[in-house]
């Protein structure tokens, strides 16, 4: 390669050109020679992508074009290069360093898995399976699209939230589900079972203590405790001792139960209760062993100290919040969405104002779920009542990708296996979209 290559795209001599150099953090097959190139200044992302592809092809004949995304000064390029430089005030005189990454796009959509009723909760934290909760009071475990391996039976109300407690163990997996029947249940099952029919499982422990529907459940990283947020405005902490110790056995209260379960079920009581919210606690998150974050319909996001049982700080925005997740850089950025179509991201480490550092407003209706990617610093997804799933990158204000996989409201969404997105909605479908190359 020569040091200065001129790529004459349009043959127009009068056109302005910019000197650029492409750099990347990607591995060698994606590396372009580190020379500066003059390119027309009115190229968009597509044009830049074409250039990079042709450069790669020049180096390797078997290259297949892939879409790339470009970053200048840490921000994704979404305008023609010239306009972008103008908008950002970057001088076009010196050589511009453009970093390129693989473009994030939804490439493949799997067959949606049909449920009997609305899919209200989904958890994809374990790459081996997907856990869903449904309005027909059943939880389900899916190995792949359409293949349900286990059915979790026992709740008397719709399931609002599910979470994998512990999947480290060889085969045995523990999960927790929260439901509108004011209880939480803990389940255990073996993942390696293969059978044609989904096997029915009963909970090995029932956690009672809330006075109203339990809205959300979150697990501590080690798996020994879970916390739940409920419509009675409190957050309860529970122990999830997998072993059946005597200490957890509480006398089962006398009640008129029509269908008496044969197996003995442990009943658990809350370890402690966090009181502070004035309205329904819609979402809880437990990023570090000592801190719990909760979002509520009383417009606040509160941070709780687990040992003290008190809320340390709260962020108020003007809207009832229905979903919350903590992640991003240093696992400290709080993303929350609520009844207005704006996805807000706060950085609690920043002193001073409680204004969100990012606001993404491409949705049309309530945001029902938001989740950070477990490994990336910048990527998160959100699901909304307008039926759309949107993938976001912090470095740009427009969504990277929009998935229109549901016809009606999307009630829940999560990442799976690092490169797929799963979501469930009012149309009773569990949709899996994969092939997303985030990293």
């Amino acid at each position: 390669m020569g040091t200065d290559m001129e790529m004459d795209m349009d043959g127009d001599v009068e056109e302005r050109r910019v000197q650029v150099r492409f750099i990347t953090k990607l591995k060698p097959p994606y590396r372009v020679p580190n020379t500066s190139i003059a390119i027309p200044a009115n190229l968009t992302r597509l044009g830049l992508s074409t250039i990079v592809n042709s450069l790669l092809k020049a180096g390797e004949d078997e290259w297949e074009s892939q879409p790339f995304d470009f970053l200048i000064d840490g921000e994704l390029v979404r305008l023609p290069l010239e306009q972008f430089l103008l908008a950002k005030g970057i001088s076009a005189e010196k050589v511009l360093e453009i970093e390129y990454i693989r473009a994030v796009a939804l490439q493949k959509e799997d067959e949606p898995s049909l449920h009997d009723d609305w899919v209200s909760a989904v958890d994809g934290s374990c790459p081996r399976f997907i856990l869903t909760g449904c309005y027909d009071n059943l939880g389900r475990v899916w190995r792949a699209a359409g293949e349900c391996t286990h059915v979790l039976e026992g709740h008397s109300g719709a399931i609002t939230s599910v979470s994998v407690v512990n999947s480290e163990g060889t085969d045995s997996v523990t999960v927790a589900t929260a439901s509108k029947d004011e209880t939480l249940r803990l389940w255990k099952f073996d993942n390696e079972e293969h059978s044609d029919q989904p096997s029915k499982i009963r909970a090995f422990k029932i956690l009672r203590g809330h006075n109203a529907s339990v809205q959300s459940v979150a697990v501590e990283a080690s798996g020994s405790m879970i916390c739940s947020g409920s419509w009675d405005c409190t957050i309860n902490l529970w122990r999830t001792n997998v072993s059946d110790t005597e200490g957890d056995l509480v006398s089962i209260k006398k009640r008129k139960v029509k269908n008496k379960a044969e197996e003995s079920q442990l009943e658990g009581e809350a370890l402690s209760t966090l009181v502070g919210h004035t309205q329904c606690v819609s979402s809880v998150c437990w990023p570090e062993p000592k801190t719990i974050y909760s979002a509520s319909w009383d417009h606040s996001v509160r941070r709780w100290d687990v040992e003290m049982g008190k809320d340390l700080s709260s962020i108020f925005c003007g809207k009832p919040l229905s979903c919350l997740h903590v992640g991003g850089e240093g696992s400290a950025l709080i993303a929350a969405g609520g009844s207005d179509p704006i996805l807000r991201i706060w950085d609690p480490r920043k002193p001073g104002t409680s204004a969100p550092i990012y606001q993404f407003s491409s949705h049309n209706s309530w945001i029902s779920a938001c989740k950070w990617h477990s490994k990336s610093l910048f990527h998160l997804l959100s699901a909304s009542y307008d039926g759309k799933l949107m993938l976001w990158d912090l470095r740009t204000a427009w969504p990277l990708a929009i998935a229109d996989s549901h016809e009606d409201k999307v009630l829940c969404a999560d990442w799976w296996k690092g490169d797929s997105v799963i979501s469930g909605g009012v149309d009773s479908k569990l949709c899996i979209s994969s092939g997303i190359s985030v990293l």
Binding site: W118, W231, V257, S339, K409
Partner: protein, 528 residues
Amino acid sequence: MGASKKESVEVDKKKNSKKTQTTKKEKHNTEESVLAQKQEGAATDYKELSADDDSEDYKSVGESEAGDGESSGDEGNHKSGSSEGLAIDGQSEDSEPDQGAEESDSSEDEVAPRNTVGDVPLEWYRDEKHIGYDIAGKKIKKKEKQDKLDSFLANVDDSKNWRKIYDEYNDEEVELTKEETKLVRRMLKGKTPHADFDPYAVLGLVRAIRKGYIKFDKPKEEPRFYMLWGDDASSSEKTGHLSYIPAPKPNMPGHEESYNPSLEYIPTQEEINSYQLMDEEDRPKFIPKRFTSLRSIPAYENAVKDSFERCLDLYLCPRVRKKRINIDPESLKPKLPSRKDLRPYPATCYLEYRGHKGAVMSISAEASGQWIASGSSDGTVRLWEVETCRCIKVWEFGEVVQYVAWNPLPELPILAVTVGQDVFLLNSGLGNEEIQRKVKELLHVETPTAPEDSGNKVSGWSWRQDDEHEGIRLRHFKSVYSVEWHRKGDYFSTVMPADILSIHCHLIAFLFLALESIVLCMKSISHT
């Protein structure tokens, strides 16, 4: 003031104490006047003031004893030894009252002026041996004045003697304090007596006022035009009559009164005939006539009558002052708040609860805010989950559902529904097993019993168990309009329109006392 200040500075040299008196600030008036006096007195002591004039005003020198005063030297200034200082009298008159007041400035504040003479020229007492009378009526003797020798000695011995001044008015010697002497010295030099007074600021103000930069009062706006011949009405109003009401203005003559009006003004014969048909009052007072030339105009027959009536108007007819209220019509409009004040108000519709087939007549939210019940004209009541717009339950009634109301207690998810003549208390099916059990207990009625409330002659209610809808059904004798729960959830009231005859009249509300058993149950629940 500044200018005059300057004057005073100049005149000081002439020692015109009067001017200094008048030009100083009022605060210092008293002091200054005395000081002026003292100045004179002191001036004689100071050799620097050898250029003093001796006008007659400087008799203050003479004030001090034997006319020569304390001066140890430079007598050049004294005048004759008229100790009383005749000419000074004029000045001292000014100064005396001030001096009396000055008394208070000096160290002896508590002592009241002892002068009992009053405001008379002291020269009247010149030849007398007494000066004034005390309260008992006895004469107050004048103090013995020191003769020259004594005064000379006093001068020498007493270092402070130069400060002493004979206060003629009060007939005593007053000693100037150090501050006062400082003031005097400053004044001699032509400075302001008080150090912190800046005359130049005052001068600036004076200049500004003179040039018109600073205005105190709003200048009167002179009307640019004024009427040479004012209206009778306006001019007479200003004469200060209290309740003068001007006479009604006579109308100026118009086209009809012209001797040769345009043809269209003249009524035709038919019109004139029609006037006869009208009532007396309706007839036009004046019928225009046309004359081709001035010669042919006849005498005005109503001349005397008109002037008589005018006279009556002027002095005989009672007139009433009409109070006209000037109300800006815009101010009568109610002040609606601006849109900004009403924020936050709902602006966007995000959730729609679809399911009803007819108009939704009433909605009610449950105590916790998780559910909404709605009653509609299609005869159904639906229970919705707020968050997801999911319809949880449907109750079918035949008739239009007028009103729904939740029990305000979160432990009792009972829904009261008014349908036609019935009020249904329904178990919504929410809550955990315990709550459900209690609600079912409550809503169980064995036998219909008469309500135990008062004041109703016609017992038109019946309680019945309604298994179809899982609840209690209350039958009224008229169709019920709405139902409201008491805040504590124990009682509810229903409203029915009173009577067919009086449809629009005020509604009668009947308060229900719930059946004994229910009351007890509910009370026990509310206490647990």
